[in-house]
C-alpha cells in the first residue's frame, strides 16, 4: 500500500553519524539479526569504512511496526556525502520524499550539510532535523537546534535528540519519519517512469540497477527502455534491497524503491539520473534532471612498473563497471611510458580511485599533477580545450586562455577567518560575502569565495584543514570560465625535459611555484653518480634551478673469505630499491618525487 511507504535519506557531514544512525535504524527494525551485522552496514566498501565516507549510494527496504499498529515500509536511501558527488546526491534526493538532517550536537552545521540540505529543499523534500551525539561532553543540543533554525530556517526545537552510538532515542527518529515524511504518490497503472539513482556491477547478476518507481509498474520479464542512453533489456529479476542482500519480488509499483537486473554488462548503459520505461508502453517524457556526469579534474595515471600496464587497464575497466563518472584513455609519456589520462569528478574522487587501484588491485602508481580543463583561444580563431599540459599550445599561438572558476562555501570558526581569507587570496580567490552563522563568542562564519578550480585541486583541502586545525569545511560547485593569464612550466632534469612533470599555472604564480618544484625535486631525488641540475622553464627560459650533487660513496669494501653470495644479495636488495624509481633519461627519480610536487604548499 502506497500510503505505508516512506522513501527517505540521511543528510550529514562526514563523521556526524550518518552511518551509525543507519545501523541503529536497521537494528531497530530487526531486518538484520544483530549478530550478523557488521558495523555501518550501508557502507559496503572497506575504503569507505576506513575513511568514514560513503562513496556510492545504497538503499535498503525496512519494515517498521509503528505506534498506530500499522507496518510501514521504509526505504532508506543512502547518499554520498561529498561535494565531488553532487550530482549523484541530487539523484538520490530525487528518489525520496523526505530527508533526515543529522547535526552533530557538539559541532553544529558544516558546509557540506548545508549544501546538501539546500539541495534537498530544492527537490521539495521534507527535511527533518535530528540532533545526534548528545552523549558527548561538548554536546550543546539547544545551540545545534538554534543553529538549524537560524541558518536553514527549519523548526528544530522538537527535533529528536539522539545518540546513534549508544542507541538512544532511535525510535523517535522512525516515528518522525512515519509522521513527518509524506507517502509517495503515483499511478501504478500509468506508463512506467522509474528513476535510476544508482547502479553497481555484480559478477553474477551483471549490473544491478537501483530505481525509484514514480509512475506505473515494472515486472520480471518486462522489456525496459532507458530513455537517455536508449539501451533496452529484458528484466531477469525485480526485487527489494534488503540489508543483507537481494529479495526478488516480481514487481515494483509506483512509490516503491528496489532493484532491476537484466544481465547488463556495462554500467554506462544504466546511467544515474536516467529514466527506465517499458519498451512496449513507453512514457511520453522522462523524469527531469538527467545530466551526464562530467569529469572536472584530470591526471595521468601510470604503473610504477611499466610491465603492469595491462593490469592497470584491467583495473580501470573493472572500476568503470561500477563508476560511470570515471573516464580514462590511453596516454604515453616519454618519461613514464604507457599509462592513462583519467578524468575525475573532483579531488576526492581522484584520491578514492587511486587508492582503490593500489589497494584492491595491488598496483603501484605514479600520478601526474592534476589538471582542470582549460579553454584556449588560438590566434587562428580556433578554440581548444586542454586537460593535459602536454597538449598546451605554443605560447605564440595563444590569443587568450580561460580557466574554470567555482563558487566555494567555507564554513569556519570565526577565529580562523583572517587566515582563510589570506589563503583564498593566495589562491586568487574573489571574495563575495561573509555570513555569521551564530552570534556566540565561538561563533562560525560562512565565507563565500569565487576561486579558480585549478587552485583548489592541488592541496587546498590540506591547507584549509591545517590552518583551522581541521575545523573548516568546504563545498564548491562549478561557476563559469574566466579569462586568465596562464603559462606552462616545464621541468628539466640533467637538461632533459620531463613531460610528466609539466603543468599549467597562472603567470603570477609561475616564479614561486617553479622555485618550490625545484626545491622539492632536489629534496626527493637521491644523489646519482653525477651531478643533476634541476631546472624549471617557461618556453626556453629557465626561471628556477637547483642541483642534486653527485653521490660520493657507495662501496662494499670487504668481501670476506670469498663470500660472494652476500655481495650478490646486497646487489639484489639495491635493485629492489630501484624498482620504485623511474629512469628519466639518465636520472633515476623515485615515485615520491612525483607525489611531492603535488604538495607544494605544505610546510
Amino acid at each position: 500500500m502506497q500510503q505505508n511507504i516512506r522513501n527517505f535519506c540521511i543528510i550529514a557531514h562526514i563523521d556526524h553519524g550518518k552511518s551509525t544512525l543507519a545501523d541503529r535504524i536497521i537494528e531497530l527494525t530487526r531486518s538484520v539479526e544483530k549478530r550478523v551485522m557488521s558495523d555501518q552496514i550501508l557502507d559496503n566498501m572497506d575504503l569507505e569504512r576506513e575513511r568514514g565516507i560513503t562513496i556510492k549510494a545504497r538503499a535498503v527496504r525496512l519494515a517498521y511496526a509503528a505506534a498506530d499498529g500499522e507496518t510501514y515500509h521504509l526505504n532508506l536511501i543512502d547518499t554520498p556525502g561529498h561535494v565531488d558527488f553532487n550530482y549523484e546526491v541530487s539523484r538520490s534526493l530525487a528518489a525520496c520524499e523526505g530527508a533526515l538532517l543529522v547535526v552533530d550536537a557538539a559541532q553544529g552545521i558544516e558546509a557540506q550539510t548545508l549544501a546538501n540540505t539546500y539541495l534537498a529543499l530544492e527537490h521539495d523534500l521534507e527535511v527533518l532535523p535530528v540532533i545526534n551525539k548528545i552523549d558527548l561532553i561538548a554536546a550543546d543540543p539547544d545551540r545545534a537546534a538554534r543553529e538549524v533554525e537560524d541558518v536553514i530556517g527549519l523548526p528544530a526545537q522538537d527535533a529528536p535528540r539522539i545518540s546513534a552510538k549508544n542507541g538512544v532515542n532511535i525510535e523517535a527518529v522512525l516515528q518522525a519519519v512515519v509522521d513527518g515524511i509524506p507517502a509517495p504518490k503515483g499511478d501504478p497503472g500509468a506508463p512506467l517512469k522509474a528513476l535510476i539513482f544508482d547502479s553497481q556491477y555484480d559478477a553474477y547478476k551483471g549490473v544491478i540497477v537501483l530505481v525509484r518507481v514514480f509512475e506505473g509498474t515494472v515486472r520480471t520479464g518486462d522489456t525496459v527502455h532507458m530513455m537517455a542512453t536508449g539501451a533496452e533489456y529484458q528484466l531477469v529479476e525485480v526485487g527489494y534491497l534488503r540489508p543483507l542482500g537481494f529479495e526478488p519480488c516480481g514487481e515494483l509499483k509506483a512509490g516503491e524503491a528496489g532493484y532491476l537486473t537484466a544481465s547488463i554488462k556495462e554500467v554506462r548503459d544504466t546511467q544515474v539520473g536516467d529514466t527506465v520505461t517499458l519498451a512496449e508502453n513507453p512514457a511520453a517524457e522522462p523524469l527531469p534532471g538527467y545530466k551526464k556526469a562530467q569529469p572536472m579534474v584530470f591526471s595521468g595515471v601510470y604503473p610504477a612498473d611499466g610491465a603492469k600496464y595491462p593490469d592497470l587497464r584491467d583495473a580501470l575497466e573493472r572500476l568503470y563497471l561500477n563508476d560511470a563518472s570515471l573516464t580514462f584513455e590511453p596516454e604515453t609519456s616519454v618519461a613514464l611510458g604507457y599509462g592513462f589520462r583519467c578524468g575525475f569528478l573532483g579531488l576526492l574522487h581522484m584520491e578514492v580511485i587511486q587508492e582503490r587501484l593500489e589497494r584492491e588491485f595491488n598496483l603501484d602508481l605514479i600520478t601526474t599533477a592534476p589538471s582542470v580543463i582549460y579553454k584556449i583561444h588560438k590566434t587562428n580563431g580556433e578554440i581548444v580545450t586542454i586537460d593535459n599540459p602536454l597538449n598546451y599550445p605554443d605560447p605564440s599561438h595563444i590569443e587568450a586562455a580561460e580557466e574554470p572558476f567555482v563558487k566555494a562555501d567555507i564554513i569556519t570558526p570565526q577565529e580562523y577567518v583572517g587566515s582563510l581569507m589570506e589563503l583564498c587570496q593566495e589562491r586568487r580567490g574573489v571574495f563575495k560575502d561573509m555570513q555569521y552563522i551564530d552570534g556566540a563568542a565561538q561563533g562560525r562564519v560562512n565565507l563565500h569565495y569565487e576561486l579558480p578550480l585549478g587552485e583548489i585541486i592541488y592541496d587546498f583541502f590540506d591547507a584549509l584543514k591545517s590552518r583551522t586545525r581541521g575545523y573548516a569545511s568546504l563545498d564548491y560547485e562549478l561557476l563559469d570560465y574566466r579569462k586568465s593569464d596562464l603559462v606552462k612550466l616545464d621541468v628539466l632534469l640533467n637538461g632533459e625535459a620531463v613531460d610528466a612533470l609539466s603543468f599549467i599555472v597562472h603567470t603570477d604564480k609561475a616564479y614561486p611555484r617553479a622555485r618550490r618544484i625545484a626545491e622539492k625535486l632536489k629534496e626527493h631525488i637521491p644523489r646519482q653518480m653525477f651531478e643533476v641540475p634541476v631546472q624549471v622553464a617557461i618556453g626556453g627560459k629557465i626561471i628556477a634551478r637547483e642541483t642534486v650533487r653527485a653521490m660520493r660513496k657507495d662501496v662494499l669494501a670487504k668481501c670476506y673469505g670469498g663470500d660472494i653470495t652476500r655481495k650478490k644479495k646486497l646487489l639484489e636488495k639495491q635493485k629492489e630499491g630501484k624498482k620504485r624509481m623511474r629512469s628519466l633519461g639518465t636520472v633515476e627519480v623515485p615515485q615520491d618525487a612525483f607525489m611531492a610536487v603535488l604538495k607544494l604548499d605544505e610546510d
Binding site: 610491465a307 613514464l336 662501496v555 662494499l556 670476506y560
Partner: protein, 389 residues
Amino acid sequence: MPNLGVYIHIPFCGSKCAYCDFYSLPNQPESLMKDYVKALARHIEEAGRFLGKGSKGGIAVDTVFFGGGTPAALGAKRLGAVMKTVKKNFNLATSCEITAEANPGSVDARSLKKLRRAGFNRISFGVQAMQQELLTALGRSHTPEQAADSVREAADAGFTNISVDVMYGIPGQTRAQLTETLRSVCTWRITHLSLYGLKLEEGTPLAEAEPVLPKDEEQAEMYLEAVELLSKEGLKQYEISNFSRQGYICRHNYKYWTLEPYVGFGAAAHSDFGGKRYSFVKDIQAYINGVRDSESLMEEMQQVPMIERAGEYVMLGLRTANGVSSNEYTRLFKASFDTLEDKLERCAKWGLAETEGDRWRLTPKGFLVSNQIIGELLNTDAPAPSAQK
C-alpha cells in the same frame, strides 16, 4: 685447470670487536678448539681424496689462507698442525702463498717463528688505526704500539710478505688521522695494505650505539687521499680496498675477483668449486658433529648458471684495477658486451671509468660508487621506458 685456493675458517677470537658481524666466537674452551682442529683435519683428509693427493693428477694448490676470527687465537701450534694436514693431503705448489690473519698482540716472536716453520709465508695484521681513541671506539683490544711491535717481530721472524688492514670512516676519525696512520704503517716493512671503509652492520654493538660516522663527502676524500698517498709510497692499488708493492698482491684474495676456484674448510667457510658456490654451517658444534657423523655440512649451495657467472665476472672484475675485458667476456659467456660498454662509456664521461684496449676499469672515484655502477651494469631489466611520441 687453474690452480686451487684453499680457505680455512677459524671462528675464534680473543675478543669480539664492536663492528664485527662475521662468524667468530671469543673465549671458547680449549676442548672445543681441539675438537675443531680434529674436525678440520678429517674434513681436509676427506677432500684430499677427491681433489688432492688421493686423486689422479690432483689439482695444484697455490694459495692457502687462514681467515677468521683471529686464526692466531687458535695458537701457532694448532695452526701448524692444520697446515701440516693440508700439505699432506694436497699438492702444494712450491711457490704456494700461505697466509694467516693475526691481531697485534695475539702473536709474539716465538709464535711467529713457529708459524714460519710450519710454512706460513704471509701474515696479515688488523692494525685499523694508529690512534688509541679510534681503536677504543672500534672495540679493538690492542694498542698502536703493539701493532708496530707485531709487524716488526713478524719481519724479524722471517716474514717477507706482511700486510696490514687500515680502516677509514671510523666514528670521530679525521682526514689528518687517517693520513697519520698511513704514513706510520708505510715506514714499516710491509708489502701490502688493505683499506676498508667501516660499515655499520645491523645487530653489532657499534651499530646499536648509533655513532656519528664521518660524512660521505669526508669519507670519499679520505679514500681518494689514501689512494694517492699509498701510490706515492709504492703501494699500488690493485683492487678497491687493496694495495701492494710490485709482485705482492694477495694471490688468494685475487682468486675471488677473477672467478678462480677455491675450496673452504671450517664452519661458515665459503667455496666456489665445480661451478657451485656453497658454504658450510655457521655453527662450530654443528660443523664438528657433521664431520664426525659424515652428515651434510651445507648451509647454502647454488649451481651458478652461466648468465650469473657473467654477472659475477663484471661485478668482481671491476673491483680490480685490471678491470674486465670485453673480448674475454664475449669468449667466456658467449654474450655481447655492447650494453655494458654503453653504460661504461657513460660512466667514463663522469670520470668514473676508463678504458684501454679491450679492457674497462673503474677509476678511484668510480671505486667509491662501485655499488651503484655495478648495480646499474647488472640491471638487465627493461631500461628506461622509451615510449616515442
